[in-house]
C-alpha cells in the first residue's frame, strides 16, 4: 500500500498509546551497558585500518612512498588513490532520483595530487594490530609542495584569490527577490541594520566515526557502521566498482549523529580495506581526527537591513549571507538554500531582497549539522526583531506576535504555510512559564531576559522525491515485527515506530520488535536527517499498520458475523460491541483461512515539487515547518564578562507528541547543543591549521554549564506526520544563541553580534579596552 503526503490530524481522546510517555524500547539495553554500538563488535583475526592525513592546508603532492611503512611487521597494505577502483565521491544525496541543482562537484576518496585542507585523507594503512598501524602511518612518506591558501570566504570570492578548485571558489549562490524592496524601505518608519557572525562548530557526538566490515558467506561486503544513512551502500559500491546488491550497510544504534554522520565517514575506507584484504577490518577515527577533519557547521556572516512601520509591522528585509564551505562541496549548496528559505524567520514580510553565497576555502569542509543552515539565520533575524522592538518601544513578545506567520501566508520564496501556526502561543507559553525576572546576585552583576522564536522545516526538499518503506507483520502468537531500515541515532527513531504500530494495532509495546538500520534485510526508509524520519518512516509504518488492521478486522468480522466497524483491536484481542470477540492468534488463523495477509508493506511518498533555480521562486520547497520560542534568563558579571545561565524555557508546537518524553529529550538536548554554540564552542583555525582537535580545546557544555531546561510541548494536532505530528529533531537548536544574545542585550544594553559569546566578547560589548598592558 502506498500513501501520498498531506495534512494529518488527530484528536487527543482517540489516542491510546500515542501521547503516552512510555520508556523507549531501547532504554533497558542502553542502561545495562549491553547495547552493541558499531565499535563494539570484534572478529578474531580482525584487521585495523587508519588514514594518513595531510598535515598542510594546501599543497601539491609530489611524491608518495609506502616502502618503509610496508616494512613494519604486521602491516598488510598501504593504499593510495590509484588503488581505489573509482577514486571519486560525488556530491549527491544518496537515494535521490534527481541531481542536486546543476552542482557536479566531487572529491577524491584518497587525494592523489592535491590536498586542500589540513586533515585530508591521502593514504589508507591496514595492519594486524593498532600498534603496527600507528607505527606504519608515521612511516608513510608523502612529499608536499605547499600552494597559496585562502581562508576567508570574502577573500576567496575576490578577484585574483588563490583557487581552491580550478572552476572557481564560488560554490553556491541563491537569490530571492520578492515585492518592491526599495519602495518598502522608502516608506518605512524605522530601519534597523546589523551584521552577525556565526562560527564553525563541531557535532561532537560522544561516539566518534567507527565501523567494522567483513565479507559475509555470500560474498556480500557488509559494513556495520555508525551512520545516519544506510543507503551509502550505493556509494561504496560505486567506489569499488561492484554491484549495489553486493554491498550491505548495517547501522546499529548510533552514538549520536546531528548531521555529522550524514555524509560518509569511515564507509569507503572500510569497504576498500575489506575488499582488498578479504578479511574483517575495524576502523575508528580518534576524537582528534574527528575534530580535525570531519565536515562541520558553516560559519556564516549575516547582514540584515530591516524596515518596519511605526506599529512594528515588517515592511521589508534586505539580507546578505556569506558562508564558508571549506575545501570541498559536500552539502554546502543545500545548506545555503536552507539559509535562504528560512532567512526571514517565522514572520510575514512581503518585500525581500536576499543574496546568499558560499565559497570554497582551505578550511575543513562544512556540511550537514542539525538545523542545516536554517539555524544560523535565527541569530540574524531575531537580533533584528529585538532592535525593532527597542526602536519602537515594544516588548520582544509583542513585536513577534504582530508579525507572526499564520496559515495561508506565503514565505518569501513563495511557499504557502498550510498547517496551523501556534507561534504566538509558544511566545505566551514561555513568558507565562518563566514568571518574574530573577534579581542580580550582587552589585557588579546584571540580569537579563531574552526571547527568540524560529521556524524550521521538517522533511526533505520536495524535488528529491523522498520516500520511505516499512514492513509490519504479525507473528502467529500475536506479537508484532516491524522492519524498517531507519537508522536510530538516539532520538528514539525506532521506538516511535513501535509506538505508532501499537496505537493502530493494539499490540502492547513489549510485544513489538523493530528491526531497523539494515540496508539489505529491511525496506529502505531513507536518511535519518532533515527531521524526516517521523514524517517518512512514521507514515510508512502507519500505512502498513492500517492496512493490516483493516484486513484483520474484516476477516474477524466475517467469522464473528458482526460488522467490522464494531470491532476493536486492543491488548491482543479482537473485541466486538456485544462483548463477543476472539483472541488475536485466533483472528490470525482466521485471516490465513481466508487468504488475508498478516503482513503488509507500507510505502510513503513525501510531497512533490519542482527543483529550484538560483533565483528562488517556488510553490513548495519543504513539506512543512515546526515553530517555537525560547526564553533565557542569565546573569552577566560586569567585571569578568562571565555569563551564567539562570533559567531556560523552550516551547514548540510538535503537532502531536508521539512520545512526550522523546519530544522533551529532543528539545532539551538541542537547547544544550545550541547553548554550547552560543557561549563556548568554536573550531579555531590558524592559517589553515586546526587548533581545536581535542576535547581539551573544543569545549562542549557540561552538566554545570547547562541550566535547568523547562520544556513546553504544545500540540496543535496538525502536521504532516502520523497523527498530525511535526518533526522536532532540528527545530529547537535554532533559538538558543539568539535567546542568549537577546538576554545579554537586556542585561547590559549591547548585543553581542559574534559567536561564541565569550567573556572577552562580553567585555568588548561593555566597552572594556582589552588591549595588552591596559590596567583596569
Amino acid at each position: 500500500m502506498t500513501a501520498a503526503a498531506g495534512i494529518r490530524t488527530s484528536k487527543e481522546d482517540e489516542l491510546r498509546i500515542v501521547r503516552q510517555p512510555l520508556p523507549r524500547h531501547d532504554q533497558a539495553e542502553k542502561v545495562a551497558g549491553s547495547t552493541r554500538y558499531a565499535g563494539d563488535l570484534a572478529f578474531a583475526s580482525m584487521l585495523h585500518a587508519r588514514l594518513v592525513r595531510s598535515p598542510v592546508p594546501s599543497a601539491r603532492i609530489t611524491a608518495r612512498d609506502a616502502s618503509a611503512a610496508l616494512a613494519v611487521p604486521g602491516v598488510v597494505s598501504v593504499l593510495f588513490g590509484e588503488d581505489v577502483p573509482h577514486n571519486l565521491i560525488w556530491v549527491d544525496v544518496p537515494g535521490q532520483t534527481v541531481e542536486v541543482a546543476a552542482l557536479k562537484a566531487s572529491m577524491e576518496v584518497l587525494a592523489t595530487d592535491r590536498v586542500r585542507f589540513h586533515g585530508e585523507p591521502v593514504a589508507l594503512v591496514i595492519a594486524e594490530t593498532e600498534e603496527a598501524l600507528a607505527e606504519a602511518c608515521d612511516l608513510v612518506s608523502v612529499d608536499y609542495e605547499e600552494l597559496p591558501t585562502v581562508f576567508e570566504p570574502d577573500q576567496a570570492l575576490a578577484e585574483g584569490a588563490p583557487l581552491v578548485h580550478v572552476a572557481g571558489n564560488l560554490l553556491g549562490e541563491w537569490d530571492i527577490d520578492r515585492g518592491d524592496v526599495d519602495a518598502a524601505f522608502a516608506a518605512a518608519d524605522v530601519v534597523v541594520e546589523g551584521t552577525y557572525q556565526t562560527q564553525t562548530v563541531d557535532h561532537a557526538y560522544l561516539e566518534s566515526e567507527v565501523g567494522v566490515g567483513w565479507l559475509d558467506d555470500e560474498g556480500v561486503l557488509t559494513l556495520r557502521v555508525a551512520t545516519q544513512v544506510v543507503e551509502h551502500y550505493r556509494d561504496v559500491a560505486r567506489i569499488l566498482g561492484i554491484p549495489e546488491a553486493r554491498v550491505r550497510v548495517i547501522a546499529p544504534y548510533v552514538g549520536g549523529g546531528f548531521g555529522g554522520k550524514e555524509d560518509m565517514t569511515v564507509e569507503p575506507y572500510l569497504g576498500l580495506a575489506v575488499w582488498r584484504t578479504r578479511r574483517p577490518v575495524r576502523m575508528q577515527w580518534t576524537r582528534q581526527e574527528s575534530l580535525l577533519a570531519r565536515p562541520k557547521r558553516h560559519r556564516m556572516r549575516l547582514r540584515y537591513r530591516t524596515a518596519a512601520d511605526s506599529g512594528g509591522k515588517l515592511l521589508g528585509q534586505e539580507i546578505d549571507i556569506t558562508a564558508d564551505s571549506g575545501a570541498y562541496a559536500y552539502l554546502s549548496a543545500l545548506v545555503l538554500l536552507y539559509s535562504a528559505v528560512h532567512a526571514c524567520g517565522p514572520y510575514q514580510v512581503s518585500n525581500v531582497r536576499l543574496r546568499a553565497r558560499c565559497a570554497y576555502t582551505n578550511n575543513p569542509p562544512t556540511s550537514a549539522f542539525r538545523g542545516f543552515g536554517g539555524m544560523q539565520v535565527v541569530f540574524g533575524y531575531e537580533a533584528q526583531m529585538d532592535l525593532l522592538a527597542r526602536e519602537l518601544g515594544l516588548t520582544p513578545a509583542e513585536i513577534r506576535k504582530r508579525n507572526a506567520l499564520t496559515r495561508g501566508d506565503a514565505l518569501p520564496v513563495g511557499q504557502m504555510i498550510e498547517t496551523e501556526v501556534l507561534l504566538a502561543q509558544t511566545i505566551d507559553a514561555v513568558v507565562d512559564r518563566a514568571g518574574a525576572k530573577p534579581q542580580p546576585s550582587g552589585p557588579r552583576k546584571a540580569v537579563g531576559r531574552g526571547l527568540a522564536s524560529n521556524m524550521q522545516s521538517y522533511g526533505r526538499l520536495v524535488w528529491l522525491n523522498d520516500s520511505a518503506a516499512a514492513w509490519v507483520g504479525f507473528q502467529l502468537d500475536g506479537s508484532l515485527s516491524v522492519r524498517c531500515a531507519v537508522p536510530d541515532i538516539g532520538g528514539g527513531q525506532a521506538s516511535s515506530l513501535a509506538q505508532i504500530a501499537s496505537e493502530v494495532l493494539g499490540v502492547p509495546m513489549d510485544r513489538i520488535t523493530v528491526h531497523f538500520g539494515d540496508s539489505a534485510l529491511n525496506p529502505l526508509a531513507g536518511t535519518t536527517t532533515a527531521t524526516r524520519q517521523l514524517l517518512m518512516s512514521g507514515n510508512a509504518v502507519y500505512e502498513a499498520s492500517v492496512l493490516l488492521r483493516d484486513g484483520l478486522l474484516a476477516a474477524a468480522a466475517e467469522a464473528l458475523g458482526e460488522p467490522a466497524d464494531g470491532l476493536r483491536l486492543e491488548d491482543g484481542l479482537v473485541s466486538g460491541r456485544a462483548g463477543g470477540g476472539m483472541s488475536l492468534p485466533d483472528a490470525l488463523v482466521t485471516c490465513r483461512r481466508r487468504n488475508v495477509p498478516i503482513e503488509a508493506l507500507g510505502t510513503f511518498f513525501g510531497p512533490k515539487g519542482q527543483p529550484v533555480v538560483k533565483s528562488l521562486q517556488a510553490d513548495r520547497v519543504f513539506p512543512d515547518f515546526t515553530f517555537g520560542t525560547h526564553l533565557c534568563d542569565l546573569e552577566v558579571d560586569l567585571d569578568t564578562g562571565q555569563v551564567e545561565l539562570l533559567g531556560y524555557v523552550a516551547a514548540h508546537d510538535v503537532g502531536r507528541a508521539i512520545n512526550p518524553r522523546s519530544v522533551q529529550g529532543q528539545i532539551s538536548g538541542a537547547v544544550a547543543q545550541g547553548l554550547g554554540m552560543a557561549l563556548l564552542e568554536e573550531i579555531v583555525m590558524a592559517d589553515g591549521m586546526n587548533l581545536t582537535a581535542g576535547f581539551f580545546q573544543y569545549l562542549i557544555p557540561t552538566a554545570t554549564d547547562v541550566p535547568e531546561i523547562d520544556v513546553v510541548v504544545l500540540e496543535s494536532g496538525e502536521g504532516m506526520g502520523p497523527f498530525g505530528a511535526r518533526g522536532i529533531g532540528e527545530p529547537p537548536i535554532g533559538p538558543p544563541a539568539a535567546a542568549v544574545a537577546s538576554a545579554i542585550q537586556d542585561a547590559i544594553g549591547v548585543r553581542p553580534a559574534t559567536l561564541p559569546i565569550t567573556p572577552e566578547r562580553v567585555l568588548d560589548c561593555l566597552g572594556e579596552d582589552l588591549s595588552p598592558g591596559t590596567v583596569t
Binding site: V31, Y205, E207, Q664
Partner: protein, 159 residues
C-alpha cells in the same frame, strides 16, 4: 614487538586474567583483551567520561590509566550495576524510567559517575549532582533527565 604482561583484575565480581600488551590502557585492556565493551572510547584524553569505571570504588577514566597500574584491582562497569538475576539495578532502573539515555553512548560512564556520587550516602542537591557529573559529557539529553534519574535513585535509596 610490544612487551606483554599477565594481569588479573576482578571485573564486575569475576576474576579475569589476560596476557596482553603492557602498554594497554585499562580501557583497551577491558575492551580488547577482556571483551568488556560497556566502557566506551570517546576522546582518549580523560575529558568526556565515556570510559568511566570504578577502580576499587573510585571513578576513573579508563583511557588514562594503564591496566598494568591497576593489576589486582576490582573494576566495576555499568554491567556490574545489574542485579544478580540480570535485571536492572536501582540506578539503572532510575535512568530507564527517567529517559536518561538517548543515544546511550555516554550512559555507561555516566552511570559509574552517578554510582560514585551516590556512594557517599549523603543526599545531594540537583546542583551538587550536576557538579558530580562535570567530568562526563552528554551531547543528547541536555543533562536534565540524567539529574532527574540520580535524584530518583537517591530518593528510592532513602538518601
Amino acid at each position: 614487538m610490544t612487551e606483554e604482561v599477565s594481569l588479573t583484575l576482578t571485573v564486575n565480581g569475576r576474576e579475569v586474567s589476560r596476557t596482553a600488551g603492557a602498554h594497554l590502557t585499562l580501557l583497551r585492556w577491558l575492551r580488547e583483551a577482556a571483551g568488556v565493551t560497556d566502557p566506551k572510547y570517546g576522546c582518549g584524553e580523560g575529558i568526556c567520561g565515556a570510559c568511566t569505571v570504578l577502580v576499587d570504588g573510585q571513578p576513573t577514566s579508563a583511557c588514562l590509566v594503564l591496566a598494568a597500574q591497576v593489576d589486582g584491582a576490582a573494576v566495576t562497569t555499568a554491567a556490574g550495576l545489574l542485579e544478580a538475576d540480570g535485571s536492572l539495578g536501582p540506578l539503572q532502573r532510575a535512568f530507564h524510567d527517567q529517559h536518561a539515555a538517548q543515544c546511550g553512548f555516554c550512559t555507561p560512564g555516566m552511570l559509574m559517575a552517578a554510582a560514585a556520587a551516590l556512594a557517599g550516602g549523603r543526599r545531594l542537591s540537583r546542583r551538587e549532582i550536576r557538579q558530580e557529573l562535570h567530568g562526563n559529557l552528554c551531547r543528547c539529553t541536555g543533562y536534565g533527565p540524567i539529574v532527574d534519574a540520580i535524584e530518583m535513585a537517591q530518593e528510592e535509596a532513602g538518601q
